[in-house]
Subunit: 195 residues, 2 copies
Amino acid sequence: MARTSGSHSEITGPRILEAALKLFAESGYAAVSMRKIASEVGVQVGALYNYTPDKQSLLFGLMRDHMEKLVAAWDQETRPDTPMARLEHFARFHVGYHHVRRDAVFIAYMELRNLTPENFAVIEGLRSTYEGKLEDILEEGARNGSFSVPDAKIASMALIAMLTGVNTWFRETGRLPLEEVQDIYWEMTRKAVTA
Amino acid sequence: MARTSGSHSEITGPRILEAALKLFAESGYAAVSMRKIASEVGVQVGALYNYTPDKQSLLFGLMRDHMEKLVAAWDQETRPDTPMARLEHFARFHVGYHHVRRDAVFIAYMELRNLTPENFAVIEGLRSTYEGKLEDILEEGARNGSFSVPDAKIASMALIAMLTGVNTWFRETGRLPLEEVQDIYWEMTRKAVTA
């Protein structure tokens, strides 16, 4: 039965976000109506508008939430002493964090095109913040002689693209466990930025 | 004025593909109707069905065309003597070829989800063919001692993700010319697979 009561909003909120994420990832933002999201949750469309002003806010909320949690998760990780150890930690963290959030990662890249300019600027800012964490590690390592990186900004974007790419092919049921995949990607990451 | 005459099919075909590519890239496959594509081209929707049986065929045609041309373009490139020189050629070719086809590359990754299983298998096959070209180079180089690659298949996917990532940020109007970007990515590619 459809639930429309405001008293369910604390339960409904996460379910709305979960449904929106699933549907946006399946069909793309532009093809998914508020009515479709409501139907997926099992509420009336009016209940959705109690929770969110519009579909753009849902998309923006999902993307901002993903990026903010990513940055916060990295900030909460222990910080090894050397740039080399920090880079290893980053490479393994990035692969591990992203591969269990495939829909959110997919949306965060694919639906940038559908954000309003103001919302796009916020998401781009969060992405820069995260990329900046890697850039800082590369610059510290370049200064102390651990790394050889002509352009830390470009190197950080290149490495993040490589590491995120694991999501396009890695499956838990595949021939390699995640730890081995992390070993291989860390080795390539390390070599790519050392002399 | 809308053109519906069959005699225009040779002119209309490329324009339909161009319009479909643009609209799919902007809004996503699921959000774009045949009517919308017809309107973008300036023909009646019936004229579209003279050219293609359905929207799935349009999407598949675009993706297959992109992948087949990519493989053919690489096969037509000169083939340097050594695995190291071939890898350099591949890295520079990949970045150069992809950055001028951003919509097609975007679609080729994003809309895999919207292909029928049969069509998906064809596109995956073409992608494997292309990735196999790089894998072969890495394996040859590993055999003759030029490269140190524990898993050529994974290394080829990792490098292709890194190189394709240029599309997410590189713009002709940016701070670096393409040649310098190719230099940086080639350097990282080379180091990632050497000892």
